[in-house]
Symmetry: D2
Subunit: 338 residues, 4 copies
């Protein structure tokens, strides 16, 4: 940790600061600069929040040197992690394509889409039973009925199922039915929820928050890892920027960046990331080329009548086209599906 | 609702669209423009999500005309709402100053700060018992012990107490001790939590999310109002932008804007909004001048030794200075404290 | 154009508004909604700014229907434009790789890098002679000497040369030496400069501004096109967002989006877009997969001693690696280099 | 300057780095941390760009300690600068209210508005003769005719005149007519223009760029100061964020922040900052309370028929109301108009 002091710090303030640091177990190295005095405080204290040092009179800035996450860091497992559920493998050269409707709507819908996806080559099935909706008046999901339909679709197709958990109170229910538990963007810093999914055994797909930095995202993963669950998949799904021509701004550079910082696999959701059907295929291809370990794609048998997010859903034909294109880039990358 | 169609829409697509709208109870008005055909679809359907219309082939854009919130809208109560707890009134010309430490740390700290705040003129007491922290390794709050210390400080000073609720599982506990329940920025779209606080009787202070638009913020309030709890206070606490010189960018223009759109009172948190102690007083004054109904201020008896957020906390002397300045602007505004 | 009125608009205000519109040549269609009255005003008035209508008492919102650019729109040339300079072709299935140092530094540097790039397969040479620098104390470029060195490198390698024009006063000088004139991100809305390059015959590469929407970017291109120069290449180089882990956020989804809206070719600059050397190759590949028509890559023979932007420059070996990877994705895309 | 190295830096790389720093005149202090080795490099090298150090193999991060601006820094003139033109004083307890139409439209308009503003208490007159417009088809200003009308209005009212300079080629013309030269937000990093206004004697009002950090804004001022012109006024006019309910997000916290970092006076433009007429008065008041040294307000005699920006212009009655409110807050602040 580097501590920059003001020119007008008094000697008493200086001594207080040094004593404060030493009491907390730091070794102190002082550098006298041209205008400012700087302290290098040595000691692995990443588990403590030292932002409070900035409030000590005479302290101008505190600059941490070590990254604040430990279990998520690349050097914990330099070869990279692989998360596996049945035939679906994500990471380490294995690529997952998880597809399905935004919301589970009916048995007919789920069976038709699941079989179509399986035929086209998807190796995971997504579908929302609990839906986070901006408006209290919008459709909020079929809840347990939706979970049962997902399980039924898994039964029929063998595809592992991923679905979103929104509330602690529904944890047991979702864990019972799902193969992978999704934490949505709006809950990326719902720390109670993160801890809870960290204490159960199923893999967790952690979406990046709308305005989360890469560091905050990795710290959210650290919450899950710190509870003992190592099976975390990160999902880039677009961040909020000034640009309104797309629903979000898909930050594909986060893929190679996160992979250099962390051992966790990273998948990309170009459906939410762009919010526009015509951009999904090009951005899915770009995600593969950027080094992603998988994709999350919204597919609906009849997007024009979807109960939510129809404007960004592909139909089964378009999904077939996506798979064809994605396979070509995967071949270049030397990665295999599943 | 206005629906803009593509030039290359087919007649069959056009007929499908019109039938779809009529089946959902809309009256259709067609405007033939120079290049595009536009539909005005009349009917109060704000409770339904019609974004899916954008996925109908031939539809280019769907533009809602009515605002999506109803209970939060200004015209429900044009004179504005007042939220009252004991002597603390917020809204309708009454101004609340709620102050206290970021986190409850000890009995000595809470009693000293509460008495100091009371003496300086605060009419509400804040303090975190459950703390949302970016890192799993940071101090997470004293939990029930913290709530008890808050209650004890209320006992001693008569100040009503506000504290954050983070998880559904702690709802009963927090409701038991708190006078006002705070929903933090990270939980602004934790819809299960919003519904739960909408079903209990205590007032709710709803912080704006880091990347929430004013419309999304009002929709989050609508979740609470829709469950029957009318006592909602909005709190502007800064949004996330590209600027890193301040912790967040305090969006003061949201105060007069929200007050024109909604009847709900709006308070401002310049401590989180700026993250820098020296900016708290000027921005507190600016908030009053912009028309805010109250302030949320972090105060610590010894900021340099605070367990969290010390760099943005005032000490009691500085808080006294803030009150002196704020009273002057309140006099100009013709508003009264409490 | 759609005009939404307030519920409390008076009849006099209504009549004034209607007269105002009719005087400007609009046909008026009135839609009486449940709560609001809406006007559809028909007439191709895209060349006029009608935002002022929002200031007419009783008018709540004005929503344009037609996009504000005309010459840049896709339907002007649905097959897409190709910009050609010597052997370098960009657009219509032809892919350009323009590479070189951030700043021209010396003859030795330019000759070495230009020959290395040519050998590795680049088909254009970039280099800054006038450098926009945040600090007045930073190196500002070799100016005319730099332009001469670029011309000399072109002489030797046959590679067409692209360089940035910063000021109107240097227009003739830059036009004399350059094959393609670059307008930098900071000058995207320097309208005098846009008009000036629109009146000369050389192709223009127009970088997207740090905080420019796609629509504003296309409007900036419209300034050049409106003066008669049709040879405009757009360049996505990252936008400014809250994320600081990368220098900018490379908005790759803008590539397929712009290509659907406009006939102009789009190239991508992953060097500025990410600001980190290790992210350049993955994002270059992703750009090709997203449908870009070319790349702009910073290459320096000795990045550790570059006079500017060394942290994002590749060396010649790394550039060779980039070309190898890019060729593979180009093969999948069915595009050819040059 | 602090240089953080990677764990896997080789000894040769280490020696190269140290030699490189010493050759550039730095004294080196090494701190051996738990995981990383850190160098404190001492020497006032703020005039050099050391970002290139990040490209030296083994270097992870370079952290500057000194702020990059020198002439703009507060400690150059701790009492703060005052810019004076005739009776208009800005800074040091003097408050300027500069008002007028977005664009100069006609003699009748300018005379009427100037006299009305003078009567209401404005002490400066603004008006655009050259207008930066997103669309090439929008009204671009009356140019020299506009400048002459401004001079005529000054003649009549005694109010000093401020107008925007957009192009180097119009410098002499604008300097001839204007009392204060405005550099617009889009030109904040038009470095040639900054240097040019730094070499002439009239005061310069420098608007903050749409996506400029406070540091970049001060560096832009440094460009002007470094050429010898000390009469620089900064103008906060809103930054671009994700929020679209206002035209920009007015960053009022930048006012006290900049005043703590720099001796330059800061004024606020709530008209562009919010883009909504009804928000102008509350935000003007808030600006005064936050410590601003002046205001820039758009006023039009007939906003509904303004040629540009009518939706954010006050009429003369509203401006009178603004002055009444602003005077009250000025009294509290102990500042005087002019």
């Amino acid at each position: 940790m580097i501590i920059v002091t003001n020119q007008n710090m008094t000697e008493t303030q200086w001594e207080n600061l040094c004593r404060n640091l030493e009491e907390r177990g730091f070794q102190i190295h002082v550098i006298q600069g041209v205008e400012k005095r700087v302290i290098g405080a040595v000691g692995d204290k990443r588990r403590v929040d030292f932002r409070y040092l900035e409030s000590i009179p005479g302290v101008e800035k505190v600059i941490p040197i070590l990254s604040p996450y430990k279990l998520a860091a690349r050097d914990v497992r330099p070869e990279g992690s692989v998360v596996q559920v049945g035939d679906l493998k994500i990471g380490g050269g294995h690529f997952g394509v998880i597809a399905g409707p935004c919301a589970v709507e009916s048995e007919a819908q789920m069976m038709e889409v699941a079989e179509g996806l399986k035929a086209a080559g998807a190796n995971g099935l997504r579908g929302g039973a609990f839906k986070p909706r901006t408006s209290p008046y919008s459709f909020q999901g079929l809840e347990e009925t939706g979970l049962k339909l997902l399980a039924q679709a898994r039964e029929k197709t063998g595809l592992p199922v991923i679905t979103e958990l929104m509330n602690l109170t529904e944890l047991d229910l979702v864990v019972e039915y799902a193969d992978i538990i999704q934490i949505g963007a709006r809950n990326m810093q719902n720390f109670g929820l993160l801890r809870a999914v960290g204490r159960q055994p199923k893999p967790v797909l952690l979406k990046r928050g709308l305005s989360a930095t890469v560091e905050e995202w990795l710290m959210a993963a650290e919450y899950i890892l710190a509870e003992g669950n190592e099976k975390v998949i990160l999902c880039e799904r677009g961040i909020r920027t000034f640009e309104t021509a797309t629903r979000n701004t898909l930050d594909l550079s986060a893929v190679p960046l996160v992979k250099s910082l962390s051992h966790l696999p990273v998948v990309v959701d170009p459906s939410h990331g762009t919010g526009k059907r015509k951009l999904v295929i090009p951005m899915a291809k770009a995600a593969v080329a950027a080094g992603a370990d998988g994709l999350l794609i919204e597919v609906h048998t009849d997007p024009a009548n979807a109960w939510s997010d129809g404007e960004q859903s592909l139909d089964l034909n378009e999904f077939g086209e996506l798979m064809k294109e994605v396979r070509k880039i995967l071949a270049v990358e030397g990665k295999q599906l599943g």
